[in-house]
């Protein structure tokens, strides 16, 4: 009985104690909530802010007595990098332009150009360009006064060739790109290297055979030509750009023969037409500036983001 009495007292004590525990769990006071929420928040902040954690150092480790695992101090900054403004990959590029020759002291040359490129990577393209020089201007009116001065002052004739057209197949490579800001506009740009091979059609302007009977008349001749250059492209939109480029077009050219008629073989007066051209070729380098616009097609493209 004494044992049963003891168990009954224990049961009574438990029954009186349980409602108190349940009541304590069911009644939320504001202070209790703050206390409960505040603790995890502190832990979370401490864990999330690496810089604060590093700055706190050993002083913050007041709680745990066990040695903390070793960590490397990482002082890195995270930068947001803008996507490349205009992708070139698998797009076609059309580029009308005008060309001005820089280094011909005897004759001015103005060309109308058109170029096409296909970008098989974002920085590499294969394409072709075409320049039309003989579009209606009189070559004699494009001559500089240097020709006349040389003729009068040195008694020398200057053999001059006019240009009709040229076409080249090119590779383009874009090693540089960037952006700049003008007031509140940001412009993207890139710089490229270009080079290729093609042809250039030229013919001599008759200088030494004007007075012969009949006067010398030359046909256009086709020469193998090479070119190298560098350019700058500024994106006005994602598909329209302004560009300027420096190009050096090089080819071996044949000029009018300056040997006096009397020393040439063939009929007296005009000589043999096969001797009207100089026997050898001269290396010609036409350095020019080209300015124009490019149109990228299709005009829209999609970024392919890593998953």
């Amino acid at each position: 009985m004494r044992e049963l009495g003891g168990i009954a007292l224990l049961m009574a004590a438990l029954l009186t104690a349980f409602p108190t525990v349940v009541q304590a769990q069911m009644e939320f006071s504001l202070d209790e909530v703050d206390e409960e929420d505040a603790e995890p928040a502190k832990d979370s902040k401490r864990q999330g802010d690496l810089i604060e954690e590093l700055a706190a150092g050993d002083d913050a480790d007041s709680g745990p007595t066990e040695p903390a695992p070793q960590r490397e101090e990482i002082a890195e900054e995270i930068y947001a990098v803008q996507q490349i403004y205009a992708l070139r990959l698998k797009r076609h590029e059309l580029a009308p332009s005008v060309a001005f020759t820089l280094n011909d002291p005897y004759l001015k040359h103005y060309g109308l150009g058109l170029a096409y490129n296909y970008w098989f990577t974002n920085v590499l393209a294969v394409g072709a360009n075409f320049i039309w020089y003989d579009w209606g201007t009189n070559p004699l009116e494009r001559g500089t006064d240097l020709v006349e001065r040389i003729q009068n002052q040195s008694r020398l004739g200057v053999p001059i060739n006019d240009w009709q057209t040229g076409a080249w197949v090119n590779f383009t490579y874009v090693p540089f790109y960037g952006k700049f800001k003008v007031r509140k506009k940001i412009f993207q740009w890139d710089a490229y290297l270009i080079g290729g091979v093609g042809f250039m059609r030229t013919k001599p302007i008759t200088v030494f055979g004007v007075a012969t009977d009949p006067p010398r008349v030359f046909d256009w001749q086709t020469n193998v030509a090479f070119n190298v250059g560098a350019g700058l492209r500024i994106f006005l939109t994602r598909y329209l750009t302004f560009f300027t480029e420096f190009r050096a077009y090089m080819w071996p050219d044949q000029f009018e023969n300056i040997t006096p008629e009397s020393q040439l073989p063939g009929p007296i007066g005009a000589g043999d037409p096969s001797t009207w051209l100089q026997p050898g070729s001269s290396f010609v380098a036409n350095t020019s500036i080209q300015i124009g616009f490019t149109l990228f097609l299709p005009i829209k493209f999609e970024y392919r983001l890593p998953k």
């Binding site: 947001a80 403004y85 009308p96 820089l102 280094n103 002291p105 001015k108 109308l112 579009w135 209606g136 201007t137 009189n138 009116e141 494009r142 240097l146 001065r149 040389i150 009068n152 002052q153 040195s154 008694r155 020398l156 090693p175 540089f176 790109y177 960037g178 952006k179 700049f180 800001k181 003008v182 509140k184 506009k185 940001i186 412009f187 993207q188 994106f235 006005l236 939109t237 994602r238 329209l240 616009f293 149109l295």
Partner: protein
């Protein structure tokens, strides 16, 4: 002056019309209002933030000292090889003032000079222009030294990625100013007895210069003042080190060939011809003080 025939004008008109159609077609596209460059319209947490943080100030209140090598381009008779230096002080990162100077350490005769020297022909009709073909390189005009003061504007700057590996800061420097150039030309001479039949020249110290041979070698020097302008691409690789690739134009008149260009029978200042003298320069930039500051 080049004249254009009506057919050519028609062709130009067609091309311009096509270009106009292209531009208008682009402008009328739906959504074209947002297709003009790239607007700086940042929303979200970056709204109102500065466009650049920790911008390296390569120029503000700093001195650039730049030794350079240059060569002239587009010359008729001789190309100048120039060694010199330039100093610029910048009050802000986009504006500065500077001075430069160089000396022509070499002169490369152009192919035209060599052609005249080897194939030129002298008669009494052109004796004043070419007294002796072998001496032609000694009669042409040359430029011995160059200097100038210029204002520099750097509206564009940025950074370059090269092969996705090498990154460096770069800017464009537009400059304008005045140049002072040391010109050496053929000295004044008068052809006698007549402009079209010259047998001797009258020059200072010798009124009977037979065949104008002494006149051909007589020289005079002067300082020409001319406008100068150009553009430079600058790249900075270290706190105090960079490179500059510069084009500079200095148009002024001088007698390039030492010849009677206005055909008045005498060599004088009226024979000077306007030349668009321009040069290309490679420079190494040293920045002082050497420590580069950055913005916030």
């Amino acid at each position: 002056m080049m004249k254009l025939v009506p057919k050519t004008l028609l062709r130009i008109g067609i091309l311009l019309a096509l270009a106009l159609c292209l531009v208008l077609g682009d402008g009328l596209r739906e959504g074209a209002g947002t297709a003009s460059a790239q607007d700086v319209q940042v929303s979200g947490p970056l709204a109102g933030a500065t466009s650049v943080k920790k911008l390296r100030l390569w120029r503000a209140m700093r001195l650039h000292v730049e030794p350079f090598f240059a060569f002239t381009i587009g010359d008729e008779y001789a190309r100048s090889l120039i060694v010199g230096g330039e100093a610029r002080f910048h009050f802000v990162d986009w504006f500065g003032i500077g001075g430069w100077g160089g000396y022509s350490v070499g002169q490369l005769d152009m192919n035209l000079t060599e052609e005249i020297q080897s194939k030129g022909f002298t008669t009494n009709a052109n004796r004043l222009d070419l007294p002796e073909k072998d001496n032609f390189p000694q009669q042409i005009g040359r430029i011995n030294w160059w200097s100038g003061v210029e204002l520099h504007f750097m509206p564009f700057r940025g950074k370059l990625a090269m092969f996705q590996k090498v990154f460096f800061d770069a800017d464009l420097d537009f400059f304008v100013g005045a140049a002072f150039v040391g010109v050496e030309e053929r000295a004044d001479a008068i052809g006698r007895p007549s402009p079209s039949d010259v047998a001797f020249c009258e020059i200072a110290g010798n009124a009977m210069d037979t065949g104008c041979l002494e006149s051909q070698l007589a020289r005079s020097k002067r300082t020409a003042i001319a406008p100068s302008f150009g553009i430079s691409f600058n790249a900075f690789f270290h706190d105090f080190l960079g490179i500059a690739l510069r084009w500079r134009g200095i148009p002024f008149k001088y007698n390039t060939g030492g010849t009677d260009n206005n055909k008045d029978g005498q060599i004088d200042s009226n024979d000077r011809i306007r030349q668009f003298n321009n040069m290309f320069t490679f420079g190494l930039i040293f920045v002082l003080p050497p420590k580069t500051k950055t913005t916030d």
